[in-house]
Symmetry: C2
Subunit: 463 residues, 2 copies
């Protein structure tokens, strides 16, 4: 069962920033600024003993003075004051708190004592109040303009609204991903960095996101677990039945596990145990950072294939060959087009086009030739999906290729594109991704992403 | 011995474009335009039966009418006329010819007959004339403004001058790489796409580039060989003794080999035989497109390490952990800093910095903290190189990080950086690469590139 009390983190009707600052650039200023700049629709209440207005907003001297119903409190006060402030929030019946402040277990003995106090405050709230953090970046929900990320918009752009949820234990990794997603124009439903995880942890969030209608795929970056291993795996099993979960587990090597321990204080655990548990649960495991990114992009934009019979269409023979090499490594099938299909395409295309799989429409292809090829291939029962390589450096292909590929969504089969280059190509790539066609900079990465989609299908079919 | 006759392809004192066109956008127009726009310093002679001027240039009616000494002829006439034109050029004692025109063995029987005629013309020249092509993109030498690439500058930007030579059998792959290199601001010494390779082939070019003082590293993309396998391997052996050669061999899978055969008419050969031969010769083999790119970037900008004792410095713990995982996969050593070094760094840094390897200077690090860490680590005999991860999303780190990392080149140990993000980060990445620090978008790719540098060192040390 998803915990409805987590709702208020993502859809608060009002928010209090406790420790809101008068000084531009400070954490407590940036967080307040986020809600003001992004036109958060509910009440925004800065709290600071100095009640002179900030950015024109009335400032409250304490939590007690806040108006009746506050859904979300963001705490940015020094760590020593956090347990007391959490208690005040809990007394005020604020259901959700994000504790941004660091200075807890991650700094050693002194911090561990403080974190214990914080845990005690959480416990005393008897579940009335849920906490994300401490030592975290918090929550970002573009749709509802919730943004507790204390990094300036100049340095870290915010991704637009989309259907990818992203859970990151690490704030640094998390904010780097957000900035990258924003640059690539890929949208998210919800981002949560939960830091030391004294209350809300990866398992709670997974359970919640499984039920979240705005989320199509869940990406998870973890080092060590904040929840119990068995519970985590059981929840993963349940969640994977509902939607794809892509996990990047850092600290899988011996040295890496040690590094993770000194970095987050959490035991990272054995690589093999994790991989086995992930596989059993139906998780799509990302080997590295790039795969995490590529896989969620594919799942966010495309359906899974019925089987693994892939077609490769290219205007550059070499890229077709590289895609083929990767397909064979990944045990993806590349069926030959049927004689009937070949005949039909022959009648529409010049003789130098190579009507095999990969299908090389060659360097003088225009969008029309791609349309014939895609209609024929995706309309055929012999193919479950396509990789479309469109090298835009050649003169005959124009930006309308993004419309043509996008039309092919009618076949409800996964289509992944590959293109790479400077400004001209970049504009085409943006147009494709805006139409829901994921584009990869190398043929191998496109095939690898198709393989991830296929793994999901295999899992769903119960093998 | 390097063939000096190839010199004229790269340093011609004059160039004739045979089939220069009056129509903007046509191949024979673009090639002429390249030489004019880029202010090629020698004579530029368009040849066309219609002698009305093109872009203000005097046009010659035939090869016979050309002035005395032409070093390079670029042929863009229809394939049927090519053998005769080649003969004319040879009679005129033009030492180098690039045949751009397609329509030879790649189109089947009719083309094979034409290609045989072309081979005959080459043979009859008795080595007076060397030919690159046909069916190729030709030659690009930014330093000397030689540019036979018939793709518009709008679609395919040209890379700047640099020390990477790039040989590509495929024109499409080649031009995509050029556009990508240009976008990334990475320079090349020479680019050659040799297409059907009736005369000059991969072996000739490797031999030539081995002696080329402007080339530090050679990147090779091949599908099938145009030279004999044994000769190719012998030459690779010789060349690898002089400088690093990174090879991406496409068509290594069964299906891929078949695809390569239908695409280039060349037998791609068995994966294992190639990999074994490459290893024996000392080639750095790239598994895929991305590695080819990453490796030549690393070799172009950085020295090889004395051994594989790597330090990882990061402001984001998570990225440090991922780099560590990859280092262990690659069997790269991550020694612990000595007690003496730790003590020295402790005195200069706040207590929350994690002085292990990876060294986590944490999210509030400024450039000064990076400088202390890098001076200490690279100045120590315990480390042979460093991966510097600088996530720029945090507020304390500024663009001066590129100066600080660049200062560290004084230690003559390889330094590879990792940073990724939107505009702010992109500017920092550009500044770093302009200072000769290669930057990779993921920690794993940075470590993998270090591993390639180390492989070269192992080969040089004879193990």
């Amino acid at each position: 069962m998803s915990d409805e009390r987590l709702d208020k983190f993502f859809h608060p009707s009002s928010v209090a920033i406790i420790g809101a600052s008068h000084t531009s650039g400070k954490l407590g200023y940036i967080v307040l600024q986020n809600f003001i700049r992004e036109n958060f629709e509910g009440g925004v209440y800065p709290v600071n003993p100095d009640t002179s207005p900030i950015m024109g907003k009335k400032v409250y001297s304490s939590v007690k003075d806040l108006p009746g119903s506050v859904d979300l409190a963001v705490i940015v006060v020094p760590s020593v004051s956090v347990p007391a402030v959490v208690k005040e929030c809990s007394d005020k019946k604020i259901p959700s708190i994000v504790v941004i402040s660091g200075g807890f277990s991650e700094i050693g003995t002194k911090g561990i004592i403080l974190e214990d106090k914080l845990k005690k405050a959480v416990k005393e709230s008897k579940g009335r109040t849920r906490i994300v953090g401490p030592n975290c970046v918090g929550v970002l929900v573009p749709r509802n303009r919730v943004d507790t990320v204390f990094l300036s918009m100049e340095r870290m752009k915010r991704p637009k609204e989309g259907n990818i949820a992203f859970i990151s234990q690490s704030g640094a990794v998390g904010s780097t991903v957000l900035d990258w997603l924003a640059k690539e124009g890929i949208g998210i439903s919800k981002f949560i960095s939960y830091g030391n995880g004294v209350d809300v942890n990866e398992s709670d969030l997974l359970e919640y996101l499984a039920e979240d209608e705005e989320t199509k795929v869940i990406a998870v970056y973890i080092e060590g677990l904040k929840s119990e291993g068995k519970i985590f795996v059981d929840i993963l099993k349940k969640v994977c039945r509902k939607k794809p979960v892509v996990v990047l587990k850092a600290g899988k090597s011996q040295k890496g596990s040690k590094a993770a321990a000194s970095h987050t204080g959490s035991l990272a655990g054995s690589s093999r145990i994790y991989s086995a548990a992930f596989k059993q649960a139906g998780v799509i495991e990302a080997k590295n950072w790039e795969e995490l990114f590529d896989f969620v992009k594919a799942f966010g934009m495309q359906p899974v294939p019925k089987s693994n019979r892939l077609a490769i269409i290219t205007d550059g023979g070499g890229f077709g060959v590289l895609a083929t090499d990767e397909a064979e490594r990944q045990e993806i099938q590349l069926p030959e087009p049927s004689d009937q299909l070949k005949k039909s395409l022959q009648s529409k295309m010049p003789p130098h086009v190579i009507l095999h799989n990969p299908m090389d429409v060659t360097g003088d292809a225009d969008v029309g030739r791609y349309r014939y090829a895609l209609e024929g291939i995706l309309g055929s029962r012999d193919f479950d999906g396509a990789i479309v390589i469109s090298l835009m450096q050649v003169p005959t292909l124009d930006a309308k290729i993004s419309d043509v590929i996008s039309e092919m969504k009618k076949f409800e089969k996964p289509i992944l594109a590959c293109a790479v280059g400077s400004a001209f190509t970049e504009n085409v790539v943006k147009a494709m991704e805006a139409r829901g066609i994921p584009v990869f900079p190398t043929p191998e990465r496109a095939v690898n992403a198709f393989s991830a989609l296929y793994k999901r299908q295999k899992f769903q079919n119960g093998r």
